[in-house]
């Protein structure tokens, strides 16, 4: 595998992660600005809109994350002569550092919400007011549940990436080694 091939794969990986976060942000903002009356007036199901808008970035992110090898082959030749070859070590390091960067950026929001929520937890009943937008909605409302779901998902993805996305990187390294043949 050549260096341009690795760079292309890294860019695809970063864009894929960005798209996943975009979907989560979209779900959050959709639930926040959701108005049943508007959808009733327009005669469209909110689920249909969510699926229609969310399916394209979701499919794109899955392709970018899991078919990056094939996509990168369309752009660069992994065995192009004259280009510097990349070994498994460099591939692992590059993927881990990019994953770590993406993870740290994603973790900002969950960490700040967690730190902001600690005083609410300590003071007892205020946790409910924190989760229910200061009593504006119930705990089991779509808005509150979406907030919890998006926050938790972002936290899990952010932590996994900040720790270097070990499984994903191992798989990518294996692919890099297969492309290189017997070279580590």
């Amino acid at each position: 595998m050549t260096r341009p091939h690795l760079i292309a794969k890294l860019i695809f990986f970063a864009i894929g992660v960005c798209l996943v976060i975009y979907i989560l942000d979209y779900i959050y903002s959709f639930s926040f600005n959701y108005s049943a009356a508007i959808f009733k007036k327009a005669g469209i199901s909110p689920l249909f809109i969510t699926a229609a808008v969310g399916i394209v970035p979701l499919a794109a992110s899955l392709i970018l994350l899991f078919w990056s090898e094939r996509l990168a082959r369309l752009l660069t030749d992994p065995d192009a002569p004259g280009c510097e070859k990349v070994d498994g070590y460099q591939s692992t390091a590059a993927f881990r550092s990019i994953a770590c960067f993406c993870g740290l950026l994603i973790l900002y929001t969950p960490v700040s919400h967690l730190i902001g929520g600690i005083p609410a937890v300590i003071t007892g009943p205020n946790i409910l007011s924190y989760l229910t937008f200061e009593g504006q909605s119930s705990l089991l409302s779509a808005k509150s549940l979406t907030r919890i779901f998006v926050g938790l998902t972002k936290g899990v993805i952010g932590l996994y990436l900040a720790f270097g996305a070990p499984h994903y990187v191992r798989w990518q390294t294996k692919l890099a080694i297969q492309t290189n043949g017997a070279k580590p």
Partner: protein
């Protein structure tokens, strides 16, 4: 990769991050410009002076970012005692990642707190304290903790970088052990 190449990469990344932060702050000021002009009932001498001062400040910030990136890149690419170039390259990469993330954390923390603080001060001056500003203590505590995390990352997060380098080397060695035909 040589030390000079690493320094150039570090400088480019730091300048890019600095310019991103300046651009984002400039955009937020520019977006609030119409509101400022409306509150001043049109363009007056004070508004023009404020805009000129802002442009000068932004230019000064760009100059300092370029100058600071040079000094910071020297500190990021420190000479390691180990002769293994791969290990030092790895440490530099993770350090650079942490410093960049730290700068973005700092920007988001400070720019997230300033509007709240200004509204709080305005509320004190007007003697009209809205309910959401009566509990600024937890918000201030959150600001301090986030600021501490941001500084830790901006300083290169030595513990985290050490752990990441160790884990990456372990992962590489494991991959090599799983492929005996390499040797």
């Amino acid at each position: 990769m040589s030390k000079n190449e690493l320094k150039v990469i570090a400088r480019i990344v730091l300048i890019g991050t600095g310019l991103y932060v300046i651009l984002q702050s400039s955009l937020s000021v520019l977006f609030s410009l119409p509101l400022m002009l409306v509150s001043h009932n049109g363009v007056d001498a004070m508004a023009i002076t404020a805009i000129i001062i802002f442009i000068l400040l932004a230019l000064a910030a760009v100059y300092f970012v370029v100058r600071l990136a040079g000094c910071s890149s020297e500190k990021i690419v420190i000479h390691d005692s180990t002769d293994d170039t791969q290990i030092s390259w790895l440490a530099v990469a993770f350090r650079l990642v942490c410093v960049t993330a730290g700068i973005i954390y700092l920007y988001r923390t400070i720019f997230g707190f300033i509007p709240m603080l200004s509204l709080y001060i305005q509320a004190i001056l007007d003697n009209e304290m809205p309910a959401r500003y009566q509990h600024i203590g937890p918000e201030f505590a959150k600001f301090i903790v986030m600021l501490a995390i941001s500084f830790y990352l901006a300083c290169g997060a030595p513990g985290f970088v050490r752990w990441q380098v160790k884990r990456t080397l372990k992962q590489c060695n494991k991959s090599i052990e799983q492929q005996p035909e390499w040797h």
